[in-house]
């Protein structure tokens, strides 16, 4: 991927209907690396609870896999409807779906059946792409599928929701017919107008939380929101360790200086090298701000974070290992690093391979590992668990 290629960020958030243990909506997404595209499905099962969850996961996984194998739209929809079990109370088999198929260039196909219609937010305005209706004959009943083809431009956000969002707040005096599509769209525009670019996952979370608020925190239906955001990737540079050869110090300092994006320095010696080469002072932290457990962070002009090296990196690794969602339970320099990592799309590591002889003292705790090994472990987690794009350079 070239430096300035746009990426597509996918974020989704769900809340269960009040008092239900599982969510009746399912959101699945998959990256097809060989074909450079993403396929995602949002499905809403009939009813709520376990039954709805089964219906929607069945629908979503079938739709996703049909789409992955380029099955014709009509056939896949028919197969899905034929497969779903018939509800014992209502006597019908039913679940809705929205399939989004978007490639890295932004070419998008959306197939909608039954969900509230998706929309695109572009520069503070709502765009509704043209839709083509397909008829589907399902054992005598006529169903309609909406298919749209369009191009997702830079800074476009594609928003799709389940009906739990648009119908939230129904019956309350201020919104007798629910929140509605119009209010949802206004909310999205307002959220995106904030000076800081809101990420896809934050927007999805905000929409669902707002819906929950509309229902006075007792949702009357499962609520899901998924957002596709096409934008420039956010770059992060993590520089740690002195170069094996001191003649590379200048190169290291220059790479840090020239880098566009967030910059983190991990390591006292590293910080001193950069400080010396770029002639920038390291500002100390007053001692009373220090948080127990890790050496404190420092400040340097142009750097977003300057921390101690190996202990902090080891803590980052330990926390990344157990991190389940975006809510980081700890505070301090390690937590700041994790926060920066979670916000970035492309993470560059600039690793000096000079081994600190002083750290090989057997009196020191085992956490003092060789830097390269800890970073290797962090990289593996970032790539496999958090699906980040990672680039490493050893000096």
């Amino acid at each position: 991927m070239a430096e300035n290629d746009l990426i597509i960020e996918i974020g989704a958030y769900q809340l269960n209907k009040n008092n239900k243990v599982v969510c009746g909506d399912t959101f699945l997404s998959k990256k097809v690396s060989g074909e450079n595209r993403y396929v995602a499905v949002l499905s809403d099962g009939l009813g709520s609870g376990i039954k709805a969850n089964v219906l929607s996961s069945l629908t979503a996984s079938m739709a996703l896999n049909f789409r992955l194998h380029h099955e014709p739209i009509i056939n896949s929809a028919k197969w899905i409807m034929d497969t779903l079990p018939i509800d014992s109370i209502r006597g019908i088999s039913y679940s809705t779906f929205t399939i989004v198929d978007v490639d890295f260039e932004g070419d998008t196909t959306v197939i909608e059946y039954g969900n509230p219609s998706f929309f695109i937010e572009r520069n503070g305005e709502i765009v509704n792409p043209a839709r083509e209706t397909m008829q589907l004959n399902n054992s005598g009943k006529l169903n309609e599928l909406d298919v749209s083809n369009f191009n997702l431009l830079e800074n476009d956000r594609l928003v799709m929701v389940s009906d739990g969002i648009t119908q939230s707040g129904i019956g309350y005096t201020d919104m007798p017919f629910g929140w509605g599509n119009k209010n949802l769209q206004d909310f999205v525009i307002r959220k995106n107008a904030a000076p800081l670019m809101i990420s896809a996952s934050d927007l999805a979370r905000a929409v669902v939380k707002k819906a929950s608020q509309n229902d006075i925190y007792k949702l009357q239906d499962d609520a899901s929101c998924a957002v596709f955001f096409r934008r420039k990737p956010r770059q992060l540079l993590l520089c740690s360790g002195p170069p094996f050869n001191a003649s590379k110090d200048k190169f290291l300092a220059n790479s840090v200086k020239e880098f566009k994006g967030t910059k983190i320095l991990c390591g006292g010696t590293t910080a001193k090298i950069i400080s010396r080469e770029l002639n920038r002072e390291i500002f100390p932290e007053p001692m009373d701000k220090m948080i127990y457990g890790l050496p404190p962070a420092f400040k340097m002009d142009g750097m977003d974070l300057v921390t101690e090296g190996i202990l902090t990196l080891d803590k980052v690794y330990q926390e990344l290992k157990v991190l389940q969602n975006q809510d980081i339970p700890i505070e301090g320099p390690a937590a700041s690093i994790i926060r920066y990592m979670m916000n970035a799309d492309v993470i560059h590591f600039l690793v000096g391979t000079c081994v600190n002889v002083a750290h090989q003292d057997p009196n020191l705790p085992v956490e003092l590992e060789i830097r390269r090994n800890v970073i290797k472990k962090i990289i593996r987690i970032l790539e496999e668990k958090f699906l980040k794009q990672v680039k490493v350079q050893y000096l």
């Binding site: 100390p284 001692m287 009373d288 050496p295 420092f298 090296g309």
Partner: protein, 88 residues
């Protein structure tokens, strides 16, 4: 008001694990007569790696003087000795 003494505590990896993490709240443990005369801050590395001799972490620096194998007692003792000099 007289100038405050600057107490720099090294929080480089080795100094940190060898004992300086215990010095983080040294300000609370200083005797009352010293408390207001000292300003405490953290430092990246005080440069013990450039010394000729074998390094003896943890290091602290008081008014430009490097103190090896620092402990709370050692720091307080040194601060008092500085006090005496200035009085004289």
């Amino acid at each position: 008001m007289e100038k405050k003494l600057k107490l720099k505590i090294c929080v480089g990896t080795q100094c940190y694990v060898m004992g300086n993490h215990e010095l983080k709240d040294i300000k609370d443990h200083l005797p009352d007569d010293l408390k207001d005369k000292v300003y405490v801050e953290a430092a990246v590395c005080l440069g013990c790696d450039t010394l000729k001799s074998k390094p003896l972490p943890p290091y602290v620096e008081i008014d430009g003087k490097l103190i090896p194998q620092a402990t709370q007692e050692k720091i307080i003792e040194y601060l008092y000795s500085l006090e005496k000099q200035t009085v004289r």
